[in-house]
């Protein structure tokens, strides 16, 4: 639990950290879309190099990315098994008894694995370099144009920022309660079904109690400081797009266009 790395902010100083969140969110969207185009191994190779370059620029460690990827490995293994059972095209790689394993089954899984890896790399580039607060400011600004058609941009941003703010707290709280119950002899990992149910109950109930308590405290604290949903608020931090933000946007947009072209050519 303590080792959850996906979506965590890494406090550091790098060109990417200093970029405008709006630019980063848009750039991430461009590249994410690019990953969805079937661009073949060459395309993915290029994408991998470009994203890796960004990761280096952001001073992130590949180790960190790898650990975000780890939880997905189980899913990928599962996928591989299904693919092996279902996909019967391509050449036969090898046979186990009467069972033949086709090359496309392995290739398909590998394809998905690479896409997943690229997606995690891109999102990590955003989440690890952007403070939650900046992220919500960015989202709010990007949603502003949609306010005309009734999208409550500010409220959505506030919701997201509260949710982001509470994730680490809830993880910590979960660990705390788990430890407290383990001290009372609960075995969180093993046990019979009945014991498992008790173990989960002993975790969930206190977690809900404390989550509701926190929600109430926060609501009171916000009200006490005059927060009214929907009311106009001044902003403490104003975002400015700079040269590097335009470069980032341009580069990611070019990547998207390039990948679209490549997918047509192949």
């Amino acid at each position: 639990m303590g080792n959850i790395t996906l979506g965590r902010y890494i406090p550091m100083d790098s060109p990417i950290h200093r970029c405008d969140p709006r630019g980063k969110i848009m750039a991430m969207l461009f590249v994410l879309i690019a990953v969805f185009f079937p661009v073949g191994w060459i395309g993915y190779g290029i994408l991998f190099c470009l994203i890796s370059f960004t990761i280096v620029l952001a001073k992130l460690k590949f180790n960190f990315i790898w650990r975000s990827m780890k939880p997905m490995l189980f899913m990928l293994c599962f996928l591989l098994v299904i693919n092996i059972l279902v996909v019967k095209t391509g050449t036969v790689l090898f046979t186990i008894g009467d069972f033949e394993i086709y090359s496309d089954a392995v290739l398909n899984t590998l394809y998905i694995a690479v896409r997943l890896l690229l997606m995690i790399m891109v999102t990590t580039c955003l989440t690890a370099t952007t403070k939650p607060l900046e992220m919500t400011l960015g989202i709010e600004d990007l949603l502003k144009p949609f306010r005309k058609i009734g999208v409550p941009a500010h409220e959505i941003a506030m919701l997201i920022s509260i949710a982001l703010r509470f994730i680490p707290d809830l993880i910590e709280e979960t660990q705390r309660i788990m430890k407290a119950q383990e001290s009372r002899g609960v075995d969180m990992k093993e046990g019979k079904l009945k014991e498992k149910i008790m173990a989960i109950l002993s975790l969930i109930v206190p977690l809900f109690v404390s989550a509701f308590q926190r929600a109430e405290d926060l609501a009171n604290a916000m009200e006490a400081r005059g927060y009214v949903p929907g009311e106009k608020r001044t902003r403490y931090k104003v975002l400015h797009m700079q040269m590097r933000d335009y470069i980032l946007l341009g580069a990611s947009f070019l990547t998207l266009v390039g990948m679209i072209v490549l997918s047509r050519v192949i």
Binding site: G2, N3, T5, I10, P11, M12, N63, F64, E173, R176, I177, K179, A180, Q181, E182, S183, R184, G185, V186, D187, M198, L201, S202, V205, P206, V209, S210
Partner: protein, 286 residues
């Protein structure tokens, strides 16, 4: 020696940018049957240390010897569950662990986890609740409806009902009112003296150290800076001031009295005997 810790180090989130060495080469001997205080500034590693004693955290380096068990860094520990039955750990703000429908069920939850049969578990729960001063009228109430102080006592009863040999208490009186605090401390003293429980008490309150504990351990930035008998600990006045510890009010009072010329040779250990001493001298010089 019932508990001995050798070269214990603990690192949070190793290998990440959040890596933090919370304990650094800790060596300790804790005697059985004693009441030992663990003090230190916030963030010094007290909670981290005590979580090693029942195997919630496992050492990054070093080893821990508890009764006839050993927990050694990088080795898979055996039988953690039975260790947890022998070392009862009460967390900071333990009231958050309550979850059952009724107080009685919640307190008997612990013993049941250690394969104690229903009847024994209930009777142990009732004993524990009686010890912490929760009356029968509360047995069938929901623990979530109790006041903060009552919740705290029920949570502590939940650990006591497991009948551990060692009781580790992480700031058990934080946030309680003065009379609640005093009752709680009296309870621990009773458990220590009459039920022969070894007690480790994490605290910020020097009055508790002075008034109730036998030994004291000072942690500073993950290292043990002092381990001493309480009776000697507060004598080394200057060293304590160096550590930024405010001595108990009684000692400060005595010191001030001496400075204005009172001759207090007798070891007045509580406020009543000090008052008598003062009265005697005032009369003499009347």
């Amino acid at each position: 020696m019932s508990i001995s810790i050798q070269h214990l180090s603990y690192i949070y989130s190793p290998g990440t940018p959040y890596e933090h060495k919370a304990l650094d080469d800790v060596n300790l001997q804790i005697e059985e049957g004693k009441m030992t205080a663990i003090i230190g500034h916030t963030g010094s590693g007290k909670s981290t240390l005590v979580q090693h004693l029942n195997g919630l955290l496992l050492p990054s380096e070093g080893k821990i010897h508890i009764f006839d068990r050993e927990i050694i860094a990088k080795q898979k520990p055996k039988n953690l569950k039975s260790l947890r039955g022998e070392v009862g750990l009460v967390f900071q703000f333990p009231e958050y662990q309550l979850f059952e429908e009724t107080v009685l069920k919640d307190v008997s939850f612990g013993p049941k986890n250690f394969n104690v049969d229903e009847e024994t578990a209930i009777s142990r729960a009732k004993e524990a609740l009686a010890l912490v001063g929760i009356g029968e009228e509360y047995y069938e109430r929901s623990p979530l409806e109790l006041s903060g102080g009552q919740k705290r006592r029920v949570a502590i009863a939940g650990i006591l009902a497991m009948n551990p040999r060692v009781l580790v208490l992480d700031e058990p009186t934080a946030g309680l009112d003065p009379s609640g605090t005093r009752k709680m401390m009296e309870l621990f003293k009773t458990l220590n003296k009459e039920h022969a429980k070894t007690i480790l008490l994490v605290t910020h309150d020097m009055e508790q150290v002075y008034g109730y504990c036998d030994d004291v351990i000072v942690i500073k930035q993950g290292k043990i800076s002092t381990q001493a008998k309480v009776s000697e600990f507060f004598d080394e006045g200057n060293e304590i001031e160096e550590m930024n510890i405010l001595p108990p009010a009684l000692l400060r009072m005595k010191k001030m009295l001496r400075e204005v010329g009172f001759k207090l040779d007798e070891e007045a250990k509580d406020i009543q005997s000090l008052a008598k001493e003062i009265a005697k001298q005032v009369k003499k010089h009347g």
